[in-house]
Subunit: 373 residues, 2 copies
């Protein structure tokens, strides 16, 4: 079962350094989880992923339930065996993806939708979401929740919280009766309404779960609104449990949210951006296809020690992207994920050294100077 | 400068084991060169490429001359520096690609065509082909030749040989005057006409070049015709020089051609097939997308020790290809290139042990039993 130990708190803000203890190893927090939607992180072998410093991955229940199906994954030894990743894994509940579908029918027992793979009608209930995740076998699993879109009316957001609370209780019941060693988190909803967030958080904390997530973010609300949501919710979450901010985000979002006491993050951005030639550097994002990099024989990010930066120039990266060579995406993903991991490691060190706000200041000074192309 | 040492000859056929000594290390022959068209082997980092056992790569002059251009590559430290590959490299002359264009104008000084990148008119002369390759800086370079399509009339094939011979002499002149340490091979043309092949080979051998290629193959002639071409040409080539069969081929082509005294090969097949889910195994090619692999928890090829076979199942590979995950192409390329390298290593060992024909027999017995899907 999952344990969390809080190891340091920065005195000048709410930033925390901790450690997740899982059956598949320890993870230092704050941590960024690369996303392996179909049980594969786009462009990276598990070996390369490990070398980026990534310790824990996220896989998407919705996609894996559609293909190859939880039964097959279970037969392969769960996600760990199937994708050959020995470290911890977290699966979402599928709710986020289902609520992004244009056509779905939300009812008190869950949500009905049409399969994107074969068009069949699927009824995703809290029980089913947990059963699927039992088959996938991740270390951390998530309950079915109603993720309200942004912006949402108070009425809509209230219903989302009510559904999420009711479904969470049903998830817990199914989970407990299975004797699974997986850790089930709660997901706090409530859109942009502080009173709803507080109500939802307080109700979930009573259930004494091994971790809490803030959901219903990264749905277009922007960084200022995200900060307000975190600021409203975080004080209600227990200090001795990990806090996971779902689907966040850009480097600046991570810095702002670590400062606000968040411990875990996931996002497709580092690998998705790598596919479209957008590369993160300490001075901001750059578009590798810009002609200014055609004859630039410096490493992608001179301050980075990843395989891509240690061996290749921007001119070569530019050439790979211009030529549509897969290697561009691969090297871009190696670098972007490494960049995220380095950022998390540096933030953790700063928290332990009680100088997070100084780190934050220097980060934004450098990052703001980005020659964005 | 390139040296070649012949180390063993199989007494029961013409198969040879040798060694290329280059400024970038030694290469045991027979050898298969993966193709890095745009100075990148599709889907593989140089590190992964090295782990497959690949020792020498081929890069395409035609594509690199168009983008990023030989001047930029030279400034990056040649191809070795640009693509971060420390082993030997061979570049073709660009002739093969130009002769594949639908619109080109062959004249006595070379060939005129339109750039596929910017539409500009390009006149590729023997001198220019060599100058470009000097900029790219490969260990082995090739002369501009006229690659006749299959089938060709005797008249057309005769003109191809005449042009190739005249252009080779001009290439040598340019090459010698530059004092380059690169090794310039000759390319024997002559289509399917034994007398033309013999005439071309004899004329080129007089020039005492460091190696000889058989060109104008892999243009649709098929394995039987390929064997006849090699059988006609090989006896005219000096035993103490490497023989390179251009653009070949499938595993069965390699076995047949090693038996016939060929030392070097290149082909896009292992990486191209990996992109379309076709995977080589000791029992033949398999289509990884076939439904029979959906629940197959064996390694891709149980006899293979590559990273892909050591860590992943056919069921996972099937899933990756079904989900259009780049990782399918990456792992497929790792395996296919490893398969080719293992095949070459095994053939070399069999030659050294004087049991090549026995190896060949077992290879075809297994490979013919392929459950081709």
């Amino acid at each position: 079962m999952l344990r969390f130990s809080l190891e340091a708190t920065d005195p000048s803000c709410r930033a925390r350094a901790g450690r997740l203890h899982t059956a598949h190893g320890e993870v230092e927090t704050p941590v960024f989880m690369p996303v392996g939607t179909h049980a594969a992180v786009r462009g990276l072998t598990p070996l390369e992923l490990e070398k980026t410093g990534a310790k824990i991955l996220l896989a998407n229940t919705y996609h894996l339930a559609e293909r190859p199906g939880p039964g097959l994954v279970a037969k392969a030894g769960g996600l760990h065996g199937f994708m050959s990743w020995d470290g911890p894994i977290l699966t979402d509940s599928g709710g986020f993806q289902v609520f992004s579908l244009p056509k779905k029918e939300i009812h008190k027992d869950g949500v009905r939708f049409k399969s994107e793979v074969d068009g069949s009608k699927i009824n995703l209930t809290p029980e089913r979401a947990i059963e699927i995740q039992h088959g996938l076998g991740a270390d951390i699993i998530m309950p079915l929740d109603e993720c309200t879109p942004y912006p949402a009316t108070l009425k809509h957001a209230t219903r989302g919280v009510e559904n999420s609370l009711r479904w969470l209780n049903r998830c817990i019941e199914t989970h407990i009766s299975s004797n699974s060693a997986q850790a089930l988190f709660g997901i706090v909803q409530g859109s942009t309404f502080p009173e709803l967030r507080i109500h939802c958080a307080d109700s979930m904390v009573e259930l004494d779960l091994p971790g809490y997530a803030i959901g219903g973010v990264s749905v277009g609300e922007g960084l200022d609104e995200l900060k307000r949501i975190v600021d409203a919710t975080e004080p209600r979450l227990p200090k001795d449990k990990p806090r996971y901010l779902m689907g966040v985000g850009l480097p600046e979002d991570l810095v702002e949210s670590v400062q606000r006491g968040m411990d875990m993050f996931d996002c497709v951005i580092p690998t998705r951006y790598a596919r479209s030639a957008t590369i993160f550097t300490r001075r901001g994002k750059i578009r590798m296809t810009h002609k200014r990099y055609r004859r630039d024989f410096f490493p992608i990010d001179p301050s980075c020690a990843c395989y891509a930066c240690a061996n290749f120039t921007r001119a070569y990266m530019h050439h790979l992207y211009q030529s549509n060579e897969i290697l561009g995406t691969i090297l871009g993903a190696i670098h972007n994920v490494s960049f995220y991991q380095t950022l998390m490691t540096e933030m953790r060190e700063a928290i332990v050294d009680k100088r997070f706000m100084e780190y934050r200041k220097v980060f934004f000074e450098n990052y703001a100077s980005a020659a964005s192309a």
